[in-house]
């Protein structure tokens, strides 16, 4: 069966840690980091990169557009 694998890249310095991407993610990939960025926000990162499908839901709800999504079909 064809499997789709995805990955996200978060622009850490622009992330405001609003958590909307976390609730939008169907596979619970994203979590907030324990570290903070320059603005003092806990930023989003891929906690479980293995289950990301690259569905772009997180990027679509991200108000600040900090998420870039990559996706590839792996067989």
């Amino acid at each position: 069966m064809a499997k789709i694998k995805g990955a996200i890249v978060v622009d850490i310095d622009r992330c405001k840690g609003c958590e909307l991407c976390i609730t939008a993610c169907p596979t619970e990939v994203i979590s907030l980091s324990d570290n903070v960025n320059d603005k003092g926000y806990h930023y989003a990162y891929m906690k479980n990169p293995d289950v990301c499908t690259g569905c772009t839901n997180c990027a679509i709800v991200c108000p600040d557009g900090v998420i870039t999504v990559y996706r590839k079909k792996v067989s």
Partner: protein
């Protein structure tokens, strides 16, 4: 198979890219609060302008309110209007430059309070402009005061016990008013709180831009939005509150669609 173990690092290549921030958005950081619906709507508009390839043909009108600095974020021609007067300014620009795509972007304090006359008359005249109305039921920029669109019983800094109809009157549904005016061509109400709704909003705003080329009348899209800071909630809580309380009063969907 070997391909199955592709690492995240290997995935991050230009050829696998499926989503990135629109080029129409500048590199300036948004001043909006975390989780604000304004930012999502800015992003949607930028994506539509990029997809339609009308960057050099679009003129936006920024309002007064939280989105007053919209011109800092969009790499298109923008003009700042006096409070509430965005439709009047858009009328002038569209009449002088009829080949341009002209849109206004206003909040509820701008469009539904001080700018009610301009809104209604621009829609009634059927100016060929696109109007985008962000309704978060509160005056976000000035500190969370009651807006005309604040729900009955909703708390704000000027209605600490909730909005009372006997004292403050009823909330106004601007979209339901303009839908009855003969000048409007396409009227829709959407929201941006879930991925599905963001996609629907994008479709609606795209239609509102495309119909402008037909010169048939005003296209009006209301976006029901959250205001985490004004409502004193976290972004996730505010979206949930919005779905439970705002959406029953401001139901989503297309209110006026052109006949095919």
């Amino acid at each position: 198979m070997a391909d199955d173990t592709i690492s995240t690092k290997e995935l991050i290549k230009e050829e696998n890219l499926v989503y990135k921030k629109s080029k129409i958005l500048t590199d300036n950081e948004f001043h909006y609060c975390p989780g604000c619906g304004h930012t999502t709507t800015h992003r949607i508009i930028a994506e539509i302008i990029e997809e339609m390839d009308i960057q050099s043909k679009t003129i936006g009108i920024a309002p007064v309110g939280c989105s007053v600095f919209m011109y800092n974020y969009m790499d298109i021609d923008m003009q700042e209007a006096a409070h509430g007067r965005a439709p009047a300014l858009a009328t002038a620009i569209k009449r002088l430059l009829p080949e341009k795509y002209v849109f206004t972007y206003q909040g509820d304090g701008d469009l539904a309070a001080i700018g009610t006359a301009e809104t209604i008359h621009a829609c009634n005249r059927g100016e060929n402009i696109t109007m985008i109305f962000i309704n978060n039921g509160i005056y976000g920029m000035t500190g969370g005061q009651m807006a005309p669109t604040t729900l009955v019983g909703m708390k704000s800094s000027t209605t600490p016990y909730g909005r009372e109809v006997s004292l403050m009157g009823n909330p106004i549904k601007m979209t339901d008013i303009v839908v009855n005016l003969p000048g409007t061509y396409f009227v829709s109400r959407q929201s941006v709180h879930t991925p599905g709704n963001v996609r629907k909003t994008k479709k609606a705003i795209r239609k509102a831009f495309e119909y402008q080329a037909l010169n048939k009348g005003t296209c009006f899209v209301e976006v029901v939005s959250n205001c985490p800071s004004g409502w004193k909630m976290t972004p996730v809580e505010s979206n949930k509150w919005m779905a439970e309380n705002m959406l029953p009063f401001y139901p989503l969907g297309d209110l006026k669609v052109p006949e095919e």
